[in-house]
Symmetry: D2
Subunit: 366 residues, 4 copies
């Protein structure tokens, strides 16, 4: 199956494995005329790059993007934008030991079940490195959205048991703390917790929150292509995410309607809501309030303590994983969440252009 | 946008509004040769039908399905299966009052923002009645899956604050309690809670759990078309769902890897897992364990107590909704969750047929 | 495979067999706000209807369309438009004889090869009746295009050896001659030729030409989604069509570049071409000139003279087809060509709305 | 719009411009387990490569493919196969003159109309160089098809007025004559004709025929996804093709049914046809006979004699094109036709795997 393409008219196709020659993405359907340069992409990739602190894998990759097509004189031409990142730090030897066994919590067994064999080096296609392509593509989407006043910010809400204190929310800290937490105190506590995990050859999970601001009311669709449905798919397609919430999410199930409905009021001549339990989406369509979502991320399955498992021959064995692994995926996944959200909203923005006869007449001058 | 089609090769297209002449679905891509009759569909629709207890809307609809195409001598022919349900109990007069105002928690405002106007009668296309088409289509998918030993069971896990006691799990109760709870005691408590809500002109939410049993290892895809990503989209596309979990869901974010990884062992010559925190999916691909998911449903937004809102003219008003509304959506949504899961797994099953050269050679006799 | 859906964002899904209960179409993705009524559809269906002259099948079908969804107060709502036509003149007994044999030139054998069995009554899904759904859907597309000044006219260019005389072109005759020829003299000759064919238990083919006028320059796409590529697929998907030409078509292969290039000139401040060998499309994108295409239609394969063939048991037999069949498909296929062209151009018009940043800014008021 | 992807489950996405850094393709959906190496691709690319004779452009490109992903130990893994070709012979200076004017027969004007501006260097995305990606992708499809006994052969049928003599058909000559004609005598005449064209600063068109052998009966679909409809789109999406025929093509329109129907007979226990006017497809589905199609190619629009045209400022000018251009596109387009056919049939082969319940049961062991 062709499962490496995302989006309906703003579309990305990612390719590449952890230990292949390179990874990349083709962005197709980006409107013509968008100013774009390598820096617009690199700044996003740098946020995902490994080896930036002691709580990420020691694998060092420059993750330098090469822009191969789709631009002319600094603007997009409306044709495919191809981007490539060479792999430079493949140490396949690290992975020889796992060629023959199924790591718990990983896709080794399911790949073999599906395809009959697998590229076992570094997880192959199911490695987190695949997200480099998503981030490069998402950076283009984010640039496009900013032209329409739409901005997206994701950050770490919790790592293991450590949660941010919302009263101390500092947006600048997202990019400066190693955890991606917008609360330096919580971040310090999370780092201590992670140090502990690593000492015990263990790993941690966490939660990422994402705010999409400035989305005009009217994006999305009322049935299968609901904006929240597409956001859920986008976020759940990131490896290790096991739950997705929109707005108040799981909490709404225990509420009564009178508590959960957001009253409409007028503000500056605009329809607005006095609360935002819905998280900016009603009936699958954006309502003009900020869109809020959360991704729940499982602890890194690669742990150094010994685990029970089986090998390809069907023998029960004990496995102690070696190699270079993030003790927590969350900080590096923050920008991936942001990018998958950007891709989803960009596609909705473009699709919505054809939703109304009066809008089409504006374009075609009728 | 064409947003009423779901699935890649096992595909449904639903159509119809709450107060139009009829609703329906076209199922396209169902393999030829599947035995199918009206009863296979009707039994699913009857589970969704309103007016069956005092905790569902008093609107009475026979919801009798008419099978219009795609069958010959009791089997599917491989061509589109069209099914239609006539609306019989439209009382549009009930909705005249809301033609001009935006009900909190509903899609009235977002429809107007998107399309410029809307069919306000009974919520039009965003009414829960649209799910009749999904259920008719899902019934076909479920029938197909049973040919491969795959069964799907959903049930109510909680309503408001009332949760089932898993130690009292009684699968038969799902179809006999008015709440869809597999625990008659909890169900009785939930009914009492709902009676209270109704007395206070209020409504309730809840949680639905779904178990997909018998899925062979290997279905799904490693990147954007992850089986859990598609399940999330499918479930989140059901109106009122605000969160989706796979396996242990939100809980995994606070765990350590050693607690969350499921060890592999051998059982009867098969690779198996001794626990199932992952909920049957690893790296986006089924692992042979039961697939487990949960949908968190918001309280019915239609409540009879007065609410603050605005009208189309931008005036702030107070609104007390009239009409016929379910005090809780959950019991009738159980079968919708089941059907959206069935559609998703059926599509994955079909797509997977082309994943391996050796499988294709079996079909083409090479 | 789900092969009954056409279009990317203006999308139709047809369903139904020749001898089932009904046929129909779901139009999804039509912009909101388009005035539409049953008559807009019926007028197109009436042009396709059988039994209107002695050169079409004697099967009498009212082909009365029922509009089931997607409209409110006389305008499209942006949600799926479902349309159904009941079959009223099924005489399955006529087809009992062919249940077991493979008619030459028909899809009987290939259906069995693909699906293992088939609905043999009247050709089932591969009957020309399937095009009723296309015509109903195409009527909506044509209505939409007229809002943008785009009109589509198809007509019969030739039947068997009889061609129209372009110097006598009379557009009104298309709807008044039984052949669909815009030249009453040629039409009379064609009728005589067909009478001869019928007397000899034989059938005829022909050519349909289609002109799409008023298409703004810029619709289509430069690579796989070229406007001419999509038109070719659309036209070739009509049963019995064996060749498609754009502009001067096959003739260009024998020309030199200096003869075939269309010079650009200015006219009323607009870029225009002094000739139109290209048929209105350059590099896959409309150039503002009329789009011209031709469909070559094979003779009706159902003939009453005896033919050699085989049956399902693999026995060689002789077959003389009975039943009611058009001696030529062309006159009734004219409106089908028109409708498939309309659907293709409407989709291109909608998709193009998102092609440029400056156009999108017009819609979103940036 | 995302128009650079072709195929439903065997899918290619091409990218790159004539004068950008590189061109490439991502093949997604290829089944796992197919033996594949760089040579399998290079041998196809070498057939398309420019600069191989005096009748192709003098631009010299090594067109060396780099295989970047999707392979492990010499076999496809089921994940995307990314391939890249660096451009090495860009001489943008040649194109400075056309930056501001619209070449007749080219997409310059339509690109500006669609996107507002364009990468004018060498035709940008609408250059014939884009087909390098198609050929690399098609080579993978062709390799896959050979595993199922399906082979594809295309060749030049005519150039200008010079046609091959079918009685002298020599399949080996296709790869040895500079024209791609399977008839060395005709090829010599065509070369003489082309020399004449070049002397007169003019260019030529021609016809390509393609035979797809070994296709099992049953591939394709009865409605919109007819195998001939998809082949037509595939072939018409190649720049400069203006007509497509299946089987006897345009000729069938003047025949009677008794002449055009292919009788079925038994041969070696198989259903077969005694003639093949239909070109191997009945009702959109392959019938087991060879599939035959023809593409009519217009003369190269780039000619050196002066032409009337306009510039971006709307001034009427005279243009004499310079640069390096093929006097005829046909010989290099032969392999492109072959590859587009291969991609189309491969997709149909994979999609058909899910068409029947009994076939699916073979895969899943039920």
């Amino acid at each position: 199956m062709a499962g490496s393409t995302y989006g309906k008219i703003f579309q990305i196709t990612t390719w590449g494995e952890s230990h292949g020659a390179a990874l990349g993405v083709v962005v197709d359907g980006c409107p013509a005329g968008l100013p774009l340069c390598t820096d617009d992409i690199q700044i996003y990739l740098d946020r995902r790059k490994p080896g930036q602190s002691k709580i990420t894998t020691m694998r060092r990759e420059a993750d330098q993007v090469e822009l191969l097509s789709g631009l002319f004189e600094g603007r997009t031409t409306g044709t495919p934008i191809s981007m490539m990142i060479r792999n430079t730090s493949q140490r396949s030897a690290d992975y020889g030991e796992i060629a023959n066994c199924y790591r718990p919590g990983h896709a080794d067994y399911t790949f073999d079940a599906k395809y009959g064999f697998r590229d076992y080096r570094g997880g192959g296609r199911s490695s987190g490195r695949e997200t480099a392509g998503r981030v490069a593509g998402g950076a283009v989407a984010a640039k496009l959205l900013r032209e329409f006043g739409i901005t997206i910010t994701a950050y770490t809400l919790s790592i293991g048991p450590v949660k941010i204190d919302r009263s101390k929310f500092d947006p600048d800290a997202v990019l400066t703390t190693p955890t991606g937490m917008p609360d330096p105190d919580a971040s310090a506590m999370a780092e201590a917790y992670l140090a502990d995990c690593m000492k015990n050859y263990d790993s941690a999970g966490g939660v990422i929150e994402c705010i999409i601001d400035g989305v005009p009311a009217g994006l999305g669709d009322p049935v299968f292509e609901k904006l929240d449905a597409n956001l859920s798919k986008a976020i759940m397609s990131i490896g290790a995410v096991k739950a997705v919430e929109i707005g108040d999410g799981t909490e709404v199930s225990a509420r009564q309607g009178s508590q959960n409905n957001d009253p409409f009021r007028m503000k500056d001549g605009q329809v607005t809501k006095t609360t935002n339990h819905a998280g900016g989406i009603l009936g699958g369509i954006s309502d003009g309030s900020p869109i809020i979502l959360r991704a729940y991320v499982k602890p890194t399955p690669s742990i150094f303590s010994p685990q029970q498992t089986v090998n390809r021959q069907g023998e029960e064995i004990e496995l102690a994983i070696k190699g270079r692994h993030d003790p927590v995926i969350v900080p590096r996944a923050v920008v991936v969440v942001e990018c998958m959200a950007a891709l989803t909203v960009a596609d909705a923005l473009l699709l919505n252009a054809a939703a109304r006869l009066d809008h089409l007449k504006k374009i075609y001058g009728r």
